[in-house]
Subunit: 569 residues, 2 copies
């Protein structure tokens, strides 16, 4: 270690040539908030000097900008549907060199094994994948998840390399009301960073939540909400992802005086958005288009997340910092020319440098354990004159509960003419045989069935369909694939996207996954679906923490009352 | 722990009364950079809520400001000449609730025992005393210090409560040139905070110094120097102490964009300045008078040092932060009405709340081990026709070397008429018998002798005098006191200030020590001294790292050549 330190010092002094020098660039200085014309010398993976340097390798970056690599402070890998290896290949060309992942979804499916998979498969990648441990597995007791993680089980990961703390504490009612099992987790991560998740919580309840030492929030949707949280000491993660878009609303929060407490994050980014819009580079463009100074915008994806998570060697171009850098052809819009990770060029001329061989992670994950079922599993016997129906609201994940009359037919079936479709959740973790069945309006499917093993947060198999046979075929196909998305019609699978890693993630590259996702959307629309993103709508039908009426493997949930309710009233 | 957490949450929620509520104050919010009218609820030593609260105790602070307690990020306790207990009593009324001390001086005298004394005597004080371990003991090999501290010895303290990292790395040439013993210390404190000290270092040498992961500097004296260091990633500690005053020069560095990388520190603050001008409250007044926004100024003595040193619960008024607060009657100038530490009122109505009983720390520290000596020890036999004389420069600690002719008298003696005085350094740590003797011009003493066991950085006894007998008497008095300052005339001690703690610090309260210091100055001036602060000038005569000619127990040092030189040329 002393020899390495000595060599770095010699390179900084200019007494030995640095490994690499970026010559004559416009360097974004996030400490002084200036752009400085200077060389950047890199040695042994670290930045060692700014000034005039000569290296063993010299790269002319005149007329281009040199910027620290981008860091996404709150990111769910599962939403990208990519394995960590493929995620690295996907985000490096977009300037990202570090993400902080909360493997909440895969942990709900596979528990500690899922966390270990993410840690293991992200070792030695050219993308730093840090982890905040999922704090809320399962999200509720209203459904059957694949795993439960207690404070004790989370502690097994504390202190491991790249594990930074406790992930978003979604159970804010549990914190605010001092529930023991929740406080145990907070106490277990005393002195560690703890991320928050407290949508619209304010006043004394917000004070209570923050008094439990939770210091960030990415759920602000209203400017005043963000102001209150910032004043009370939270770091504000301004989120702009596929599902939730809060950037324009929240940017007025950002000023030179407040920026140090702000970050830009994506939270959930689906493969098509990642492919077509980009990652943090896209958020920078949006922020600058809204009038934010580019240097302040860059601070929010570099120095600020680095400081929040306690890194002293990330997020800036200065001696002693890791040589994770992006060379930009332009600032507005952000044009990514070259990306360096630890001083190595990992993206150049449109190409990601080949990393290690792709691992067939899918082999490790047979996550489907389903009690035998058939088409008749989805049959619903009439048990009353009226039933509760989930009413979708366009482009929202909240739903309404609608009570409709039931024709006196013995069995209640889908009625596509009336846009009344059967929706089922099939438990797939422990072969319990649980199947929850309800009905949904607003989905618009005219024929066939759609099914998905991505079904927040427990990721059982959720299926919507016009008839029981196609529902069975779609669910069966997902079981056969070991997870994924499927569409069936006339008793046949018409399209599917395998997601063999926990039923959540593909082992294929971004463009294939994005194309597959797009294909599934087209097929669903062809089958009559009226929603913009049918498989996203489907996956959120099963999320029993978002009001008003949702479906789980154990039946319908009235989210406002936080309890199960029968189908028939 | 969970029960305490639960109670804090209940108090934050308002379901149980908080221990204490500051009602209706103007709260300085350092996150949003606003002043907000709100109550502050405190429970179990922590701030738990902002908003409307009722407590078991309610204090009306309407019309007053509520501010986090001040934190001095770089402070040498020894310069205050106060024991930690008395320092707490001295700085709390001035708004300081935390200091980061580098016990460099006492460690030079007593080594690890000195560090242990500071840690032990500052336990459970109403002032948080944190420590950066002294990195450069001894400062040089040109003199005899009381102790040597290797990386291995420093490591014994790493990880102890309140030990934050490695203190100011004064041996910047050693870092820049990669000296093993220096790099060992840096490597030993890998991942810990390491303070810098690099006066006027710039360019590639500065890059080299910072590449060794040293991330702060308090030695900037020129604005451009501070700008360069800030750009290269150093936190800039803007210093304004008794000896070095850099605040006005450096304040133009501070803007909303850069302030997060800036702090205000005092470094060395003598008792009379502390008593008469104040501590960080005085620096705030100076900064605001220079046009700095009061909220930015306060950031530099609260949130910014807290973040630099990695504290997540210090430096702001927000839930989950320690209830270390100052109630101000006015912002301009800063008027301290009340100070709370951990939710307890520790200063109110001009009175510090009685703390624990003062400990007689002096008993533990017999730091005087001197080889027998007498008046003739100070005799100088003429060994040449010319000699090197230290020429004081008014109000500076740098000196010049002047060569003067020597009358052919056998013995060379002081000649007060010509302002040529004998100066001696008597080794006092290991009874080596080392006595270095030289001559000084510019001190101006007309009769008697002055001596001090405060003599940077090895703190042997330094003495200047008009005759050998008075020099002997003064040095003997210091030995008898176990350290301190002494003035002798006509063979008698005419005034002294005992500093029994390592020969550096008193065990008496601030006002007594300040009065004693003032008395010593008056007596010295009465004896003819022309310097503004005779005992400070005396103590720096022995500091062999500041050019040009200095005196140590092993003789004169040519600081530019960094070697000993003989008295006679």
């Amino acid at each position: 270690m002393i020899q390495r330190l000595k060599q770095r010092i010699e390179a900084a002094r200019g007494d030995i040539p640095a490994d690499l020098v970026l010559k004559g660039g416009e360097v974004i200085n996030l400490f002084s908030c200036e752009i400085l014309h200077t060389d950047v010398a890199v040695h042994d993976g670290m930045i060692v000097g700014l000034g005039e340097y000569e290296g063993l390798q010299n790269i002319d970056v005149q007329g281009r900008y040199v910027c620290p690599g981008f860091m996404d402070g709150h990111f769910h890998i599962e939403s990208s549907m990519l394995s960590p290896e493929e995620l690295a290949r996907a985000v490096l060309p977009r300037g990202t060199t570090a993400i902080v992942a909360d493997p909440h979804e895969i942990a709900n499916v596979m528990g500690k094994e899922g966390i270990r998979y993410i840690l293991k498969s992200s070792e030695d990648l050219p993308l730093d994948i840090y982890m905040m441990l999922p704090s809320c597995v399962p999200a509720t007791d209203l459904e059957t998840s694949g795993a439960r993680l207690s404070a004790q089980e989370l502690l097994a990961f504390k202190g491991q390399p790249r594990v930074l703390g406790l992930g978003e504490m979604m159970n804010y009612p549990g914190v605010i009301h001092g529930v023991d099992s929740v406080l145990e987790k907070i106490a277990a991560f005393n002195h560690s960073t703890k991320d928050g998740h407290a949508p619209l919580v304010s006043g004394k309840e917000l004070n209570a939540y923050i008094a439990a030492d939770i210091r960030s929030d990415h759920e602000c949707t209203v400017l005043e909400e963000a102001k209150e949280k910032l004043r009370l000491g939270m770091f504000i993660m301004i989120r702009e992802g596929t599902q939730a878009k809060n950037l324009k609303t929240l940017l007025p929060l950002v000023s030179p005086a407040t920026v140090r407490r702000c970050m830009l994050v994506t939270d959930d980014l689906h493969p098509h958005d990642l492919l077509e819009k980009g990652h943090l580079n896209h958020l920078l463009d949006l922020a600058v288009a809204q009038g934010i100074d580019p240097i302040l915008a860059i601070q929010m994806v570099t120095l600020n997340p680095a400081r929040y998570f306690g890194f002293k060697d990330l997020g800036a171009i200065a001696p002693g910092y890791r040589a994770d850098m992006v060379v930009l052809s332009s600032l507005q819009p952000v044009g990514i020319d070259m990306v360096l990770k630890g001083g190595e060029i990992v993206f150049q001329e449109g190409q990601v440098k080949p990393g290690r061989a792709r691992q067939d992670a899918a082999n490790h994950f047979t996550s489907m354990r389903i009690y035998p079922y058939g088409p008749d599993t989805f049959a619903v016997r009439q048990m009353g004159s009226h039933m509760r129906v989930i009413r979708l609201i366009r482009d929202q994940i909240v739903t309404m509960c609608e009570v409709v009359g039931v024709p006196n037919t013995g069995l209640v079936i889908s009625d596509p003419e009336q846009d009344l479709l059967k929706v089922a959740v099939v438990e797939r973790h422990h072969a319990t045989g649980n199947v929850g069945i309800g009905f949904v309006k607003g989905f618009g499917l005219k024929q066939g069935a759609l099914a998905s093993s991505v079904a927040h947060d427990s990721h059982n198999i959720v299926c919507v369909g016009c008839n029981d046979q196609d529902m069975y075929v779609a669910v069966k196909d997902i079981e056969t694939m070991g997870g994924g998305l499927a569409a069936a019609n006339h008793g046949q699978v018409v399209a599917h996207l395998p997601l063999p890693i926990g039923g959540l993630m593909s082992d294929r590259p971004l463009h294939e996954v994005a194309r597959g996702w797009e294909k599934m959307r087209e097929v669903a629309n062809h089958l009559g679906s009226r929603t913009e993103q049918p498989f996203m709508a489907l996956s959120f039908l099963a999320l029993p923490v978002i009001p008003e009426l949702k479906i789980t493997d154990r039946g319908l949930v009235d989210v406002n009352r936080f309890e199960h309710v029968p189908l028939f009233t």
